[in-house]
Symmetry: C2
Subunit: 257 residues, 2 copies
Amino acid sequence: MHTEGFINHITALRSLGGSRVWSLMISLFGDLAQADGQHIEGPQLSTIMGLLQVKPEATRVALHRLRNDGWITSSKSGRISAHALTVKGRMESAAASPRIYAEPQDAAQSWQLIILEDVLSDELEGFAPIGPRIYVGDAELAAPEGALTLPGTAVPDWLRLQAEPEHLRQDYVALQETLAALSDALPDASEIAPIETAVLRCLIVHNWRRLVLKHPALPAPLVSDDWPGRHCHVLVANLLARFPRPSLAGMDQRRAA
Amino acid sequence: MHTEGFINHITALRSLGGSRVWSLMISLFGDLAQADGQHIEGPQLSTIMGLLQVKPEATRVALHRLRNDGWITSSKSGRISAHALTVKGRMESAAASPRIYAEPQDAAQSWQLIILEDVLSDELEGFAPIGPRIYVGDAELAAPEGALTLPGTAVPDWLRLQAEPEHLRQDYVALQETLAALSDALPDASEIAPIETAVLRCLIVHNWRRLVLKHPALPAPLVSDDWPGRHCHVLVANLLARFPRPSLAGMDQRRAA
């Protein structure tokens, strides 16, 4: 595929939001080079960021920031620099990966309801709030000490509506529409160069991660059939399977064989 | 027992509150003459109300009111009037009797928690409110349509404190102390005339009914060991068993054989 054609494909996804370059870069490293010992070489990174429509100066600023924050480490071997996640960067990426790369069918099937003694001023991690003192979540989650915990039963429709992160509905709808159109428009994986695949995956992961990490994982019985986040999850999983992660070594070819 | 001695025994119970004569009379008829065909004769009623320290004029006013409200019907057979519950009066008494005369050990052993979709402006009959939209009650109760219902599990202490009708605690404490003292002070049932037994039972039932009908019945797991209502229940049940309901026919003797 011509570079221009590829960029046309990803424009909608690129402009969905989440345009902070350092955050985009975390998505990239997390997807492409999360394992210990993996790095992205300077020229590869420049090409990828260029395809993401990020200017070289913005890439330099973001790299600087990520190094200062302890996410990325850069080294030089001869004239080629290599950028890698730090231990902290790898740990943070690894912590988020189960949510980001979960298969839709792996969602928890059983849930629990929790009643707290008092109103909580903060969030209750892992649980979705339903009302004052009332939370629902995966049955496997440890409840806070002293809470009343009850295994989930038949779920009325209104409970799903209250458990779903309604404030993210429009964002999920936008992502769903963009991914659906992209999925229809994209050619076979063999038509896309490995480095373009890296860019495509980066954008998919980035836009998905921005939403899915903003709310607790809901067990399947607590999600409505037409919740856009459910559709996004299926689209993301299908696209990531259809365009597998390229190897860093083989990425310098501009086009697949 | 001399009349004066008996009146001394019941003074504390008589002065606990709930002094509306018509209400006292409903307690009396409900305990003594609830069955179809039963009536209390005018002279018996006068003696009983006298022992309850109610003046004849107040008795007449209350009788008049209860007739107007359709609770009591009065008839005359020769020179003797007879007062009985109406069909409505018997039905209302019968509806309240299971709560009033329940044995403490008959309390429900299993409970349920209910979450409503919205905040309810009214009470949810039979259920105790725990917080906005959260209710607990007997597992056998029918939940409102559309509610999320969950079988009860292990009960944290705070849940009992929130389920108990805290606003009635002081009234239950006062009743408990009075009944405990009365239970210690009272002589054998055989030392008390049948009509005095009727008066004693009327006051016990009256003061118990005033509290127990003001809140839903709580399943046993939801009641703290030291909840004063629990102690009252045991005292009431023991006293009513120790001083059985006299027969209306045998009540004209001033003293038991």
